[in-house]
C-alpha cells in the first residue's frame, strides 16, 4: 500500500501517532529543549505573564512554566507507560491463565476481576494512595494495581477463542507444555486487541495520575507533574491563569493523542468497525 493511501485510510493512526511521537521526543530531549531550569526560579520573575523571555510565563517562585511542562512530559509519560506495563502484565497473565485453564481457576480469577471492577478506578486509586502515601513510586504502584481488569477480560475472551483453534489442538497433540502453548501460540494471536486497550490505558493512567496529584495525593511539589502544577496554579487562577492553563493544555493534547491513536489502532485492526465508521 502506498504511503499516501495508508495515511488517507488510517487518519487516526497517523494523527494520534504524530501527537504521541512528538510528546515522546519532547520528553526524551527535555534537557536540550527546555530553555530554563525547571527546578530553580528567580523570585524577581515570579508570576510573570507569557513574554519573550518566558514564553508561557512563570509561577509564584519565578520558575519557567514551559521548562516545567517539558520535563513534566517525561514524568507523565513515564507514569502512563510504567503503570500501564504493570496493568498489562497482571491483566494479560491472569487473562491467559483464566482463558486457557478454565474451570475453577477461571472462576477464581474472574471473581477477583469482578470484585475489582465493582469499585470505581478513581476511588480504588484514592484508597491505595491514602494507604501508601503520596509520591511517584506509590503512584506507579496504585495505578498499576487498579486498571488491569479490562485487559484481563479481553485477554481471557481472546484466549478462549484461540484455545478452540486447530493449531492450539495440534500443539497440544504434539506434547507442547501449557507454558509454551501460551507463550508461542496464544499470546502472539491475542496481541491486537490488547494493543488497543494498552494505548487507551496509558491515557487513562496519565489522567488518573494527574487527578491524584491535583488532589494532593500523587506527585508532590516541586515535582513538575502536570496535575500537581495545575493544583499549584489554583490559588493564582484569577490573577495568573497561565499557571493553570498550560499544564492542562499539555495534559489534554497528550491524552487526546493517545485516544486518537487507540481509536486509529482499533479501526486498523478491526475491519468490521471500519465498515461502520465508513
Amino acid at each position: 500500500m502506498e504511503l499516501k493511501t495508508f495515511i488517507k485510510r488510517n487518519k487516526g493512526l497517523v494523527i494520534g501517532g504524530s501527537i504521541v511521537s512528538t510528546v515522546i521526543i519532547i520528553a526524551i530531549f527535555a534537557s536540550l529543549i527546555a530553555p530554563h531550569s525547571f527546578r530553580i526560579g528567580n523570585l524577581m520573575d515570579s508570576l510573570s505573564p507569557p513574554c519573550k523571555k518566558f514564553w508561557l510565563g512563570t509561577d509564584q517562585y519565578g520558575r519557567d512554566i514551559l521548562s516545567r511542562l517539558i520535563y513534566g512530559a517525561r514524568l507523565s509519560l513515564m507514569i502512563g507507560f510504567v503503570a500501564q506495563s504493570i496493568n498489562t502484565f497482571i491483566g494479560v497473565t491472569l487473562g491467559l491463565i483464566a482463558g486457557y485453564y478454565g474451570g475453577i481457576v477461571d472462576d477464581i480469577i474472574m471473581g477477583i476481576t469482578n470484585i475489582t471492577l465493582s469499585m470505581p478506578v478513581l476511588i480504588l486509586a484514592l484508597v491505595i494512595m491514602a494507604l501508601l502515601g503520596p509520591g511517584i513510586i506509590n503512584l506507579f504502584i496504585a495505578l498499576g494495581l487498579v486498571n488491569w481488569t479490562y485487559t484481563c477480560r479481553i485477554a481471557r475472551a481472546e484466549t478462549l477463542s484461540v484455545r478452540a483453534t486447530t493449531y492450539t489442538e495440534a500443539a497440544q497433540a504434539l506434547g507442547c507444555s501449557s507454558f509454551r502453548i501460551l507463550r508461542k501460540h496464544v499470546l502472539p494471536n491475542i496481541l491486537g486487541p490488547i494493543l488497543v486497550i494498552v494505548t487507551l490505558g496509558v491515557a487513562d493512567a496519565i489522567l488518573v495520575a494527574a487527578t491524584l496529584s491535583f488532589l494532593g495525593l500523587g506527585a508532590q511539589p516541586p515535582t513538575p507533574e502536570w496535575g500537581a502544577m495545575l493544583s499549584n496554579g489554583r490559588n493564582y487562577l484569577y490573577f495568573a491563569p497561565w499557571i493553570s492553563i498550560f499544564p492542562g493544555v499539555a495534559l489534554f493534547i497528550t491524552i487526546l493523542g493517545l485516544n486518537i491513536l487507540g481509536d486509529g489502532l482499533r479501526d486498523f485492526l478491526d475491519p468490521h468497525l471500519k465498515t461502520i465508521k465508513r
Binding site: 465493582s118 478513581l122 489534554f252
Partner: protein, 310 residues
C-alpha cells in the same frame, strides 16, 4: 427470567461484603494516627489524651475484632462516629449525599440529552461536516481533564465575565450547579455521543430498515420508530452504567468547585485520617455503583425483549 433476577440479587450480597472487607482492611492499615492528629499541630497533644482517644475509638483492638464490630454496626445502619466531627457518620452523609446525587443527576441529564442528540445527528448525517465536528468534539470531550475544565470555566465565567457563581453550593440554587454539572457531564456526553453514533450506524444498514424504506414509510417514521428506538437500547445501558462512575468523578469536581458533597468529604477525610467518614463515604459510593449496575442488568430484559436470561 425470575431465576436470573434471584441469582443476580444473591450475587450482590457477597460482593458488597467482600468490597466492604477490602475497604475496611485497606483503610485500617493506613499509616497515620487519627488520635495524634486531633491535637494542636503547634503544641502537640498530651499522651494521656491520645491513649484515651485510641481507647474510645477502639483503635487498640485487633483488626479482626474491629472488623466484626464494624460489620455488626453496619447491619444496624450505623457507620460509626467521625473522629474529627464527633458526629454520626450516617448523619454527615445524609447532609452530603443529596448534593452529590443532585450534581450527578444534573450532569447525567445534560450528558444524555446532548450526547444522544449529537450522536444521532452525527450518524444520520454520516460523513458530513456535522459528523466530523461532532466526532472530533467527542474525542476532545473524552480527553479533557475535568479538573482543568472546571478551573477554566471558573476563570471564564467567574473572573472574566462574572456571570455565574464558581464556588460553593449557594443553599442549593440552580446557578451554583451549572458549571459543576457541565464539567462533570462533558466526558460522559462525549462517550454517549460516540456510542449513540455507532449504535445507529449498526442499525441503519440492517435489512429491516431497507424494508421499512422500500415499503414507502416516511423518513421521519423510519428514523424515529425503527432506528432511534432500537439504537437507544445500548445507550440506555451505558447511561445506567456510567452513573455509578460519575459518582466517583464527582470527587474531583466537588473539590474544584468547593461543593459540600460526599466527594469533597472523602478527600478531606483522607487528609484528616477520619477513617469512619472515609469508610462510610467510599462504601456509599461503591454500593450505589453496584446497585445501579444491578438495576441496569435487571431492567435490560425489559428494554430489549430479545435478551434471553437463561
Amino acid at each position: 427470567m425470575l431465576t436470573f433476577f434471584i441469582r443476580r440479587i444473591v450475587q450482590f450480597i457477597p460482593t458488597v461484603l467482600v468490597v466492604s472487607f477490602i475497604i475496611f482492611i485497606l483503610l485500617n492499615v493506613m499509616p497515620g494516627d487519627a488520635a495524634l492528629l486531633s491535637g494542636n499541630p503547634r503544641g502537640g497533644i498530651d499522651p494521656k489524651v491520645v491513649a484515651a482517644l485510641r481507647a474510645k475509638w477502639g483503635l487498640d483492638d485487633p483488626l479482626y475484632i474491629r472488623y466484626f464490630r464494624y460489620l455488626g454496626n453496619l447491619a444496624h445502619g450505623d457507620l460509626g462516629i467521625s473522629f474529627r466531627q464527633n458526629r454520626n457518620v450516617s448523619d454527615i452523609l445524609k447532609v452530603r449525599l443529596p448534593v452529590t446525587f443532585r450534581l450527578a443527576g444534573l450532569a447525567m441529564l445534560f450528558a444524555s440529552i446532548a450526547g444522544v442528540s449529537l450522536g444521532f445527528l452525527s450518524a444520520i448525517y454520516q460523513g458530513s461536516a456535522i459528523d466530523s465536528v461532532a466526532m472530533v468534539g467527542a474525542v476532545a470531550g473524552m480527553s479533557v481533564p475535568n479538573f482543568w475544565l472546571g478551573l477554566m470555566l471558573m476563570y471564564l465565567f467567574g473572573a472574566l465575565w462574572r456571570v455565574l457563581p464558581t464556588s460553593g453550593y449557594g443553599g442549593g440554587q440552580f446557578s451554583y450547579m451549572i458549571l459543576p454539572a457541565f464539567t462533570l457531564g462533558v466526558r460522559y456526553m462525549a462517550l454517549l455521543a460516540r456510542i449513540s453514533r455507532s449504535s445507529v450506524l449498526e442499525i441503519v444498514y440492517q435489512d429491516y430498515i431497507k424494508t421499512a424504506r422500500s415499503k414507502g414509510l416516511a423518513e421521519w417514521t423510519v428514523r424515529y420508530r425503527h432506528i432511534f428506538r432500537n439504537a437507544l437500547i445500548p445507550v440506555v445501558t451505558v447511561i445506567g452504567l456510567q452513573f455509578g462512575g460519575m459518582l466517583a468523578s464527582a470527587v474531583v469536581v466537588e473539590t474544584v468547585f468547593s461543593l459540600p458533597g460526599i466527594g469533597s468529604l472523602l478527600v478531606q477525610s483522607i487528609f484528616n485520617r477520619d477513617i469512619p467518614v472515609l469508610q462510610g463515604s467510599i462504601l456509599v459510593i461503591v454500593v450505589t455503583f453496584l446497585i445501579v449496575n444491578l438495576m441496569v442488568d435487571l431492567v435490560y430484559g425489559y428494554i430489549d425483549p430479545r435478551i434471553q436470561y437463561d
